[in-house]
Structure formats: C-alpha cells, structure tokens
C-alpha cells in the first residue's frame, strides 16, 4: 500500500532515464519532446542466455512541458524465466518516473544541432524475473541519473551517454548499483534524405556497456555477483510523420560475468513503436 502511494506520487511528478522515439533503441540519446507534445512508446525487449530467456515489455508516456523539459513515466511488464545479470541499459521490470532536461542546445545550421540532455528518475520495483538469483531479492526503490550528448543532422547522428542507478537497501538486501554507458552512430544515406511526408529511415550502430556492483542479501555481499559486459549491434529506425518503429539486436563483445550466478547471456534484441502527438497550440497575439 505504501509502495502504491509512493508510485502515485511519483507518477504525478513523473520522469524517466531513457530518451524515447527519435533515438537509438539500446543506447542513450538527447532528443526530448516538443512543448505540449505527448509521446507514447511501447516495446518488446528480449535477453537470452544459458540461464534462460527473459522478455520485458514496457510502455512510456512522455509530455513536453517546455521545448527542453520532458516528463516521463515508464510502466513495465516482464515474463519468461532467466537467470541474467541486473541491467539498466535494457528496460527491465521497474516502474520509473522522472524528467529529462535538454540543458545544452546549439542549433548551428539547417538540419543540424548539438545538444546535451540529463535525466533523473525514481525507480520502483515492478514485475520481476521468476527465476535466478535476483528473483529472491527483497527489493527497494532506487534513483537513476543519465547524461547524453551528441549531434543530430540530416546525414549523421552521434551520441555518447552514461548513467548510474543506485538502489536503497531493504531487509538486508540491496540490488546491484549499476553503471552504464553507450556510444551510438547513425547514418541516413543521401537518397533517403527525403520529404517529411515520406518514410524516414536511418541505420544505427549501438555500443553499450554495463557494470553492476555487488548484490547484497542477508546483510552480506553475494560472492561473484559483480558483472561487466560490453555489447554491440545494429538497429534500424523508420519514421512516418508521427509514428516511429525501431528494431535492433546486440551481441556481446566482452563479458566478465559469473556463469554460476547469472549464466552466460548471449543475445539482446528490441522492437519499439512510438506515437508522437504534437501540439498545434500557439498563443494568440
């Protein structure tokens, strides 16, 4: 009941750590909503390894209060069995609500901008994996912060970003604090730089990395529960006016993960659909 009350308060305030719609499907990016714009994202995200397969679905609602400040709320769902490490790069089974602030915005040319966005969100436990070491954990809320910076243009995109999520302790248990980072490069070929009333495509290469700290249970750190992994893979984003569809897949470049604790994760994939409801309101003179 207390958790529900906290959740209600948070949803009233709202916020999230991830950029939505225009950006990459795995990595961090800078776009935020227009003033008065509502965005609706829903996605299917999968992870597979020797410890099993986990799917999560998530829906995110965003609202642009100003051209540079967006409030978001993320509603999760998780299903499938798998013993896999904690992740924050990948949407998991957490409710979150927060705000994204584009604190740097430099528009230098037709079709080009440099910008940086920071996000802060409250993360609350939601549906959890039904097997594996994390399934038996007493969970508590956490705080997530991310920063991303980069370039968007008609031909190329480049973003770097990082984030940190720290969790509170509850009943002698604490989820691993997680540090994440990403680099994304996107390209739109010349023949696809078309009018806005045609499908807009771009291809992206997404590199992500993640380090999770010690998992604590019964007032003690679980041995070998730290993990570090690096992931790389392509994604494709297709947009028509106010609808965006994106899919991507990633494979591991490097894994320092205890196979006895978490198994061996071998693939990640995601499919995301967005709808953007722009506001037509301007003030009268």
């Amino acid at each position: 009941m207390k958790q529900l009350a906290i959740l209600a308060c948070v949803l009233a305030l709202t916020a999230s750590a991830r950029a939505s719609d225009h950006g990459p499907v795995f990595g961090y990016a800078t776009p935020v909503n227009s003033q008065g714009e509502f965005s609706f994202d829903t996605g299917l995200f999968g992870r597979h390894g020797t410890g099993g397969t986990q799917f999560s679905t998530g829906s995110q609602i965003g609202y642009g209060l100003t051209p540079h400040l967006t409030f978001t709320a993320f509603i999760p769902a998780m299903f499938g069995s798998g013993s896999l490490p904690e992740t924050r790069v990948f949407p998991g089974g957490e409710w979150s609500a927060g705000a994204s602030w584009r604190f740097f915005h430099s528009v230098t040319q037709v079709g080009k901008r440099l910008e940086a966005t920071g996000s802060l969100a409250l993360v609350l436990p939601g549906p959890q994996p039904d097997s594996g070491i994390l399934s038996g954990l007493t969970r508590a809320p956490g705080i997530a912060g991310t920063v991303a910076a980069g370039l968007a243009s008609r031909s190329q995109y480049f973003w770097v970003g990082g984030g940190y999520t720290g969790f509170f302790e509850k009943a002698g248990s604490r989820r691993p604090d997680t540090t994440t980072w990403s680099t994304v490069y996107g390209f739109r070929p010349a023949r696809l730089r078309r009018g806005y009333n045609q499908w807009d495509y771009r291809g992206l290469i997404e590199f992500t990395g993640e380090h999770t700290g010690d998992l604590r249970m019964h007032d003690a750190a679980v041995p070998d529960s730290r993990s570090t992994s690096l992931w790389l893979g392509p994604s494709v984003l297709a947009i028509f006016k106010d609808v965006a569809i994106e899919g991507g897949i990633q494979g591991p470049l490097y894994r320092n993960v205890s196979t006895s604790v978490y198994g061996r994760e071998s693939i990640r994939f995601a499919l995301n659909v967005s709808y953007l409801k722009f506001s037509s309101r301007t003030s009268t003179h």
Binding site: R102, G111, R154, H285
Partner: protein
C-alpha cells in the same frame, strides 16, 4: 451626411479585409528528421488563418500561405518554431497593411495584429503611399527568441489592389 458615413464604413471594411500576412517563408535551423518537420507543420496549421504549410527538410524552408482576412501574427509563426526546439532565421514575407510614419521613416502596420515594422529599403514612391493600404514584400531579419524583428527590409512596395 448619411452617404459619407456609408462610404467611411465601406472604406474601413475594405481596409480590414486586406490587411494581413499573405505569405511567410521562414528558414528554420535544427530540423533533422520527419517528426521535426511534422511538428512544425502541425504547429503552423494550428494558427488560425493558415491555409497551407510546406516544410523542406533539406533546405530548412518552411512556407506558410495564409487565407485572406486572417489575423495571424508574426509572434505566432515564431512560437510555432520555438516550441518545437528549433531556431528561426530570416523570414521572407508578403503582407498588407497601412503605411504610416513619414517618407523618411515609414512604418508598416499590419492591421488585425499588433505587428508594426519600420521599413527600410529603396524603390517605390513611399511618400505618395503614406496613409494608404500597401502590399509589401521583404525580409524580416532574425530576432532573438521570443521577439519579433522591428524592421522590415522591403524589396517591393505598392498600393494594395
């Protein structure tokens, strides 16, 4: 006396019906993708009196055609760009309004709005047009965010038909 009143009323009606922006072409910086252009399109179309909007992503040109008798203001066009996180540069406009001021310092008042511009430029017999409704084609320079330029550099000026 009655005839004079009718004539005055007719003159005022004619003046109001022909005082407005006809066309606004703005260069917008920062639009990289289809939703950016769509957002601008939706915002511009939401302004009362806007007939048609074209957005060219590769040149950044946003072309707005307005219906006769509209009362849309330049502030609204700028706001449609700014609220989506973009920047407007110079704007080419065609507008009708009353020419006031003096021959040395003419002013265009776009009736139906609070828009008023000091005119700069050469050509056209400005002195003979003072007090009349004119059609002006020219360039509004970029203004800082939330502001509208107060000077219009005209390319042509003529008595409105």
């Amino acid at each position: 006396m009655k005839k004079a009143l009718v004539l005055t009323a007719l003159a005022l009606f004619t003046f109001a019906a022909h005082a407005e922006y006809d066309q606004v072409n703005m260069t917008v910086f920062g639009m990289d993708c289809a939703p950016c252009a769509h957002a601008i399109h939706v915002s511009m179309k939401g302004i009362k009196g806007v007939n048609k909007v074209d957005v060219d992503l590769n040149t950044g040109l946003v072309s707005v055609q307005l219906a006769p008798g509209n009362s849309a203001s330049m502030q609204q066009f700028n706001q449609a760009v700014e609220k989506n996180g973009f920047t407007h540069k110079d704007a080419k406009i065609i507008a009708k309004g009353k020419l006031t001021g003096t021959a040395a310092a003419p002013v265009l008042e776009v009736t139906g709005t609070a828009d008023k511009y000091a005119l700069t430029g050469t050509g056209g017999n400005v002195a003979s047009l003072l007090g009349k409704t004119v059609t002006v084609s020219g360039t509004l320079p970029q203004a800082s965010k939330g502001k509208v330029a107060d000077t219009l550099h005209y390319d042509s000026i003529a008595e409105a038909q």
